[in-house]
Amino acid sequence: MGIRIGLGEPFWRAAGVREFVYVLESPEGIALHELCTRLAVPGVQVSPDLAEPPLFVLNDRILSSAESRAAVVRDGDRLLVQLMLAGG
């Protein structure tokens, strides 16, 4: 089944795709920060030091910074990654 990953603005532009399925190697799932490393999309990373971090929405739940660092993503999960701006 894999993980359904959606890339919002602006990350889909570097990746060239808005939605795709990431196939897991292990049934236990993968740490979100490790998944980001493997995706290698510029700007998509988990780090407490980022001043303009991506926003992660896992199965319709918006993750805080701390939750992002601890999150594990499993087979069948839906993950949305976007830069959430609210001023315009």
Binding site: P48, D49, E52, S65, L83, G87
Partner: protein, 618 residues
């Protein structure tokens, strides 16, 4: 310190007085929004008719407008609002503000009413009243073209279209194709004074106190700004960037906030297909404005959301045409995009019918929407009802139960497409905004960014709760945001380069202080800049209270308390009344006001003393 000039224009008497801008006023309020509020505090009669000659209309450059500082091409235009009945204060970019500064002026303070349509011609330190009879009846775009043709190449205008001439309560003042002093009906105030335009033509940049240092700092700050991912992407896509992300988050006002998600067909990728190029305002390196291939500029996110999702419009070409129409007519898309959906929901529920609307008013009916915009501008048929904006209720033009479905605060329709039921700090900000329901005065945008606690504490100077759905400590983030945005409005710099607006990086008080010293030779340390900002917020509160505002007005639309968000990641969220009341009290205390939101008599006396010079010497 380098000071400029203030012109006092009496349209009734046909006279112009020009005086030096008082130094003590600059030290207390800088310029732009702050100085405008000082003049309103001093000169606006309590209870004045906003459409009467006694209303005071002020075009105020920021302290740094037109200087070689980053993104410093903005001004504030202020008066008593005919839409809300309280402070009207609209911020505008483009090229007119810098031109007014080059023409020799910090601000124009306009009173009275002309007997015939006029425009003000401002150049070389002089202000002339000229007949505008040749331009009356032209839309906002054609007016500017005609004025530049007649006055001379390079002249920049701030003009009204039909909507302003017909005193539509949410008419805006336009410069260029899209730059609007949009909120609060400043265009209606101009129309009520028979003032068609202000035209500026200047070729003398303001003298700079330390030019070498300022130019060096500008280079460094622009380079720093362009390291920001946010600034980079704004320069490529503009604010349509926000639309798709709001759809996915379930945070988009849709069909008068009955829903919170809509089609992605209006997002940045779809808008891009119709964009010719990106352009900027005077002195700005971000260039976040887009020229569309249908003859206009925009749409911005506000218009995408409100004239798009909130009206049920699904096609991006229709949306761009609607955007261009609003700008040519000189109609505020925030108000239009809240009032038309309001009417659509009332029609949907059978609260109003075709005997009033003149025909069906269905969601997404683009021909009907365009016709209604034309009718509003012309004050024709049902358009004449909506031209009164929220005042239509007080005037008895709509049934009283219509108020239950109105998304407005202090009689100002909500400015932006973001549904604030999820992020509690956004809700507080809308409720306490000094000009009514508005996101630009104080939105703590960092609350939705998923920042670490460490970064948050660095920004706010104290620990705050990161969870956007918590009510705890949200008074801290709103007050902080309100202060820094007030400061940047006093400077005439753009919100998009301000720390706290979509990024914890960008420019803050340290940078502002250095720019002020190098530009005008005034030493205002960062802590004093915060004090200036707090003073401006106090003054706005005092003016609003004189016009009848109380704690009861710092509230939210009924829907935000009673109706949970229906879909998406934000599903189920609403605002809890008890939590909100407690949060509001904490905010007042943070501001140094009492639990009813009243500044102390000592602070009010202090403001009165500081505004003594905000009046003509004569």
């Amino acid at each position: 310190m380098i000071l400029g000039k203030t012109a006092f224009v009496d349209l009734s008497a046909g006279t112009v007085g020009i005086e030096d801008t008082p130094e003590d006023l600059v030290r207390s309020f800088l310029g732009g929004r702050g100085a405008n509020m000082a003049y309103l505090h001093r000169l606006l009669p309590v209870g004045a008719d906003p459409l009467g000659p006694e209303n005071v209309l002020i075009f105020g450059c920021g302290l740094l407008t037109g200087y070689p500082a980053p993104s410093s091409g903005r001004m504030n235009i202020s008066a008593k609002s005919p839409e809300s009945g309280i402070i009207g204060d609209a911020n505008m970019g483009g090229f007119f503000p810098a031109e007014l500064r080059k023409a020799g002026f910090d601000r124009l303070v306009i009173t009275g009413r002309s007997a015939e349509p006029v425009y003000l011609y401002v150049s070389a330190g002089r202000v002339e009243l000229r007949s505008a009879s040749a331009y009356w009846g032209l839309d906002a775009w054609d007016t500017q073209v005609a004025l530049e043709r007649d006055v001379g190449h390079g002249a920049r205008s701030a003009a009204i279209g039909y909507a302003g001439e017909n005193v539509v309560r949410f008419a805006c003042i336009m410069n260029g194709r899209k730059n609007a002093a949009g909120r609060g009906g400043m265009g209606a105030v101009m129309g009520s004074k028979l003032l068609k335009a202000v035209v500026a033509r200047g070729d003398v940049p303001p003298p700079v106190y330390d030019r070498g240092a300022l130019l060096k700092r500008r280079r460094e700050l622009n380079a720093y700004l362009h390291e920001s991912k946010v600034i980079q992407i704004m320069g490529r896509l503009g604010t349509p960037l926000l639309y798709g992300n709001h759809v996915r988050l379930g945070a988009l006002r849709t069909k008068n906030s009955q829903l919170n998600q809509w089609t992605s067909d209006l997002d940045a990728e779809h808008v891009e297909e119709h964009v010719e190029r990106m352009v900027s305002c005077a002195g700005c390196s971000v260039h976040c404005r887009h020229v569309n291939r249908l003859g206009g500029e925009g749409p911005e996110f506000v218009t995408e959301g409100l004239m798009g999702a909130n009206c049920g419009v699904e096609d991006v070409v229709d949306l761009i045409e609607i955007n261009n129409l609003c700008n040519a007519l000189g109609l505020d898309t925030s108000s239009a995009g809240t009032l038309i959906p309001w009417a659509m929901e009332l029609y949907q529920r059978g609260i109003i019918g075709e005997e009033l609307t003149g025909g069906p008013l269905e969601w997404g009916d683009v021909p009907a929407i365009k016709q209604l915009l034309l009718d509003i501008a012309a004050r024709r048929g049902f358009g004449n009802v909506l031209a009164e904006s929220t005042q239509a209720l007080a005037l008895g033009l709509l049934p009283t139960e219509a108020r239950d479905y109105l998304i407005a605060i202090k009689n100002l329709p909500q400015s932006d497409p973001h549904d604030v039921r999820y992020i509690k700090s956004f809700a507080l900000a809308e409720a306490v905004s000094s000009r009514g329901a508005d996101h630009l005065r104080n939105r703590p945008t960092l609350d939705i960014m998923g920042l670490s606690n460490e970064i948050r504490e660095k920004v706010y100077g104290e620990p705050t709760v990161a969870a956007p759905t918590s009510y705890e400590t949200k008074e801290i983030v709103v007050e902080w945001s309100e202060n820094i945005y007030a400061a940047i409005d006093c400077l005439g710099m753009c919100r998009f380069v301000c720390r706290g607006w979509n990024s914890p990086k960008l420019l803050g008080y340290d940078e502002f202080s250095a720019l002020i010293t190098e530009a005008v030779g005034l030493d205002i340390p960062p802590a004093e800049l915060v004090a200036v900002a707090r003073r401006v917020l106090d003054m706005e509160r005092v003016i609003n209270m004189r016009e009848g505002i109380t704690r009861a007005d710092d509230t939210l639309p009924r829907r935000y308390f009673d109706d949970p968000l229906p879909v998406g990641p934000s599903k189920g969220h609403r605002i809890d009344r008890a939590e909100f009341a407690a949060l509001l009290t904490r905010y007042y205390r943070r501001r140094g006001w009492d639990d009813e939101g009243v500044p102390s008599p000592e602070r009010v006396a202090g403001l009165t003393a500081r505004t003594r010079s905000a009046a003509p010497l004569s």
